[in-house]
């Protein structure tokens, strides 16, 4: 080993960014949540509906209301009749298994007069049905069926609460986070003579499961 001193590593100088650079050459700035309680719409809704609106926040310009579950149909009716949100853009679910209650139902509304979009959010559990908004917008019919189909969230008062994309008797709710991606073999739906109601072996990888042999007829 020589006694030569180890050359110091050149320190990288952090150069300040050129402020005249176009915005697409700068690092992206992610939007964040802001309080939306001062928004005129939030103030008006709070006055009309009281504690049915639990909170109002906005993300990237979209105002999001957290609505109490049992009041959602009333809130939607008020938004449609009084605030002219005549177009229900979208209705979807989301699953947060670590949270209690675990499901979200998210409504996107649109107003034609000033092209305003807002979002409503309802939290619900497996056992608690959400009041349907089919009576407010007919557009809600199929999306609500889809949420039932994919998450197992029931809608109270829905005219036709059946599965839409999967078949009746499918065992499980595929968009839940605990549903295996490989899928499950819904034995009871396909082989009702071998499996009882709701029973169905998991055919996911690594479980080592094999289908049972069908009962042999005595020869």
């Amino acid at each position: 080993m020589s006694d030569e001193p180890v050359p110091e590593k050149p320190v990288k100088k952090h150069e300040p960014e050129d402020p005249n650079k176009p915005v697409w050459e700068k690092d992206p700035v992610a939007p964040g949540w802001q309080d939306g309680a001062e928004d005129p719409l939030a103030v008006a809704l709070k006055e009309e509906l009281g504690d049915a609106i639990e909170s109002a926040r906005s993300f990237a310009g979209d105002l999001t209301f957290l609505v109490r579950r049992d009041a959602i149909a009333r809130v939607c009716a008020v938004l449609k009749e009084k605030h002219a949100f005549t177009y229900l853009v979208d209705l979807c679910g989301a699953d947060y298994p670590k949270r209690e209650p675990r499901f979200d139902v998210v409504y996107q509304l649109h107003r034609f007069s000033d092209q305003r979009r807002i979002r409503l959010r309802v939290m619900t559990g497996e056992a608690t049905p959400v009041p349907t908004v089919c009576g407010v917008w007919r557009a809600a019919n199929w999306p609500e069926r889809e949420i039932w189909d994919m998450f197992g969230v029931r809608f109270e008062g829905h005219p036709d609460m059946t599965r839409i994309l999967l078949w009746e008797g499918f065992n499980g709710f595929p968009l839940r986070k605990d549903f295996p991606v490989e899928g499950i073999d819904t034995g009871s739906a396909i082989y009702p003579e071998y499996y009882g109601e709701g029973a169905g072996p998991v055919a996911g990888s690594g479980t080592g499961w094999k289908p049972p042999k069908p009962p042999q007829e005595p020869s």
């Binding site: 176009p22 915005v23 697409w24 050459e25 700068k26 690092d27 992206p28 700035v29 992610a30 939007p31 964040g32 949540w33 993300f59 990237a60 979209d62 999001t64 005549t86 177009y87 229900l88 853009v89 979208d90 979807c92 679910g93 989301a94 699953d95 998210v106 996107q108 034609f112 092209q115 979009r117 979002r119 917008w137 007919r138 557009a139 019919n141 199929w142 999306p143 994919m150 599965r163 839409i164 994309l165 999967l166 078949w167 595929p174 968009l175 549903f179 991606v181």
Partner: protein
């Protein structure tokens, strides 16, 4: 009420006799259903009393797949939903991701995106016109429209290597710049296309049989259309002047000039006219893009791995050829979306089909399925 046999054409409007109600199954293996749509019809004679669509034959769990892949790798999944309009699906998805993480797209990329989206709109409408006409019984437009669609698909192939599943956009910009000579070939097609559109219109617009089959069929009043959440040419056919490109401009649609056509009666013929005019407006937009096409980078500065902040959520909708296609994305701090929901225009528009075909004849049902312009890959996802 049962009519005596042998007198099938004696009801007052000269069509078909009333008889007992019966159930009729239509599809899923029927060429006029544009895929695998099944309808349970309740018919009285030749008239449809009620109908009940049954869907899901093409369900692939795309929304679950989105959760398994990073933001960049999800773009090809969007191609496979509405497989005749992949560019607009890409545009909706990357737009949502950009909003979620705060990316700003450079102008050249925005203009090329607009061009690709408008070419896709034309190609989707051409396919719609071909199949709609062939459903009703006019075979010739099919050959004509596929001739032009072929050139359009060649342009796509030249740009990104694929003809249908394009995968031609990325969060932050575009994968490649335009190839040499592309703009000239595109400009040539755009110069030819209005004449070709005249050709189709000569065949159909004033054709007596075409009008007989479409005028007054499947009338959708504007209030009911909005109540059903119907968007795109179907909503505009009902007389509502609403287009997301004008209402909430994305990319560069506020920098180009175009008009939003509307119908008056909300029937199948009006929706046909609206789509024909839309194609001409798309040509106009592409021409303006070609003229204004700026130089510069095609990709924004972005991290190698995109991560959305925890509990960040966004909904972004754009005007696809069939209506509003939107993505609702939730992030959780990982490179994958925690939840990615699609608002498919075909799914929502198809919901209004029972309303459209109440009281229509069975033969008109084929025209009505055509006029809703559904792609079952997107309905079922």
């Amino acid at each position: 009420m049962t009519q005596p046999l042998g007198l099938p054409y004696d009801d007052h409007d000269g069509l078909f006799a009333e008889s007992e109600e019966m159930e009729l199954n239509f599809g899923p293996q029927h060429p006029a259903t544009h895929g695998v749509l099944r309808l349970k019809l309740k018919v009285n004679g030749e008239r449809i009393v009620d109908s009940y669509p049954i869907i899901g034959y093409l369900h692939r769990g795309t929304e679950k797949l989105f959760e398994l892949h990073p933001f960049f790798q999800n773009v090809p999944h969007t191609d496979r939903m509405d497989y005749v309009a992949a560019a607009t699906n890409n545009q909706a998805y990357v737009g949502a991701v950009e909003k979620l993480v705060g990316l700003v797209v450079p102008p050249r990329a925005r203009y090329i995106r607009m061009m690709l989206a408008e070419l896709q709109r034309i190609s989707s409408h051409l396919l719609w016109l071909a199949t709609h006409a062939i459903d009703i019984g006019a075979m010739t437009p099919f050959f004509y429209t596929f001739r032009e669609r072929e050139i359009l698909l060649d342009l796509f192939e030249e740009y990104c290597g694929a003809r249908l599943t394009l995968n031609c956009m990325r969060p932050g910009g575009l994968p490649h710049d335009l190839p040499v000579g592309w703009t000239e070939r595109c400009a040539k097609l755009m110069a030819d296309l209005p004449g070709k559109l005249d050709e189709y219109e000569e065949l159909l617009t004033n054709n007596r049989i075409w009008k007989k089959r479409t005028v007054g069929i499947g009338v959708l009043p504007p209030e009911i259309a909005i109540d059903y959440g119907v968007t795109g040419p179907m909503l505009r056919g009902s007389g509502v002047r609403w287009d997301l490109r004008k209402a909430l401009p994305y990319d560069g649609y506020d920098e180009v000039e175009f008009e939003v056509p509307t119908g008056q009666n909300g029937d199948t013929y009006d929706r046909y006219v609206v789509r024909m005019i839309e194609m001409r407006q798309s040509v106009r937009i592409v021409n303006q893009c070609l003229e204004k096409l700026p130089d510069g980078p095609i990709m924004a500065k972005r991290p190698r791995v995109l991560k959305a902040a925890k509990d960040a959520e966004i909904y972004h909708g754009i005007e696809g050829p069939k209506g509003e296609i939107g993505f609702y994305i939730v992030g959780d701090g990982t490179p994958n979306p925690y939840r990615c929901h699609v608002r498919p225009p075909s799914f929502i528009n198809l919901q209004s089909l029972p309303e459209l075909c109440k009281g229509a004849l069975i033969a008109d049902l084929v025209a009505l399925i055509g006029t809703t312009d559904i792609v079952l890959g997107e309905v079922d996802r």
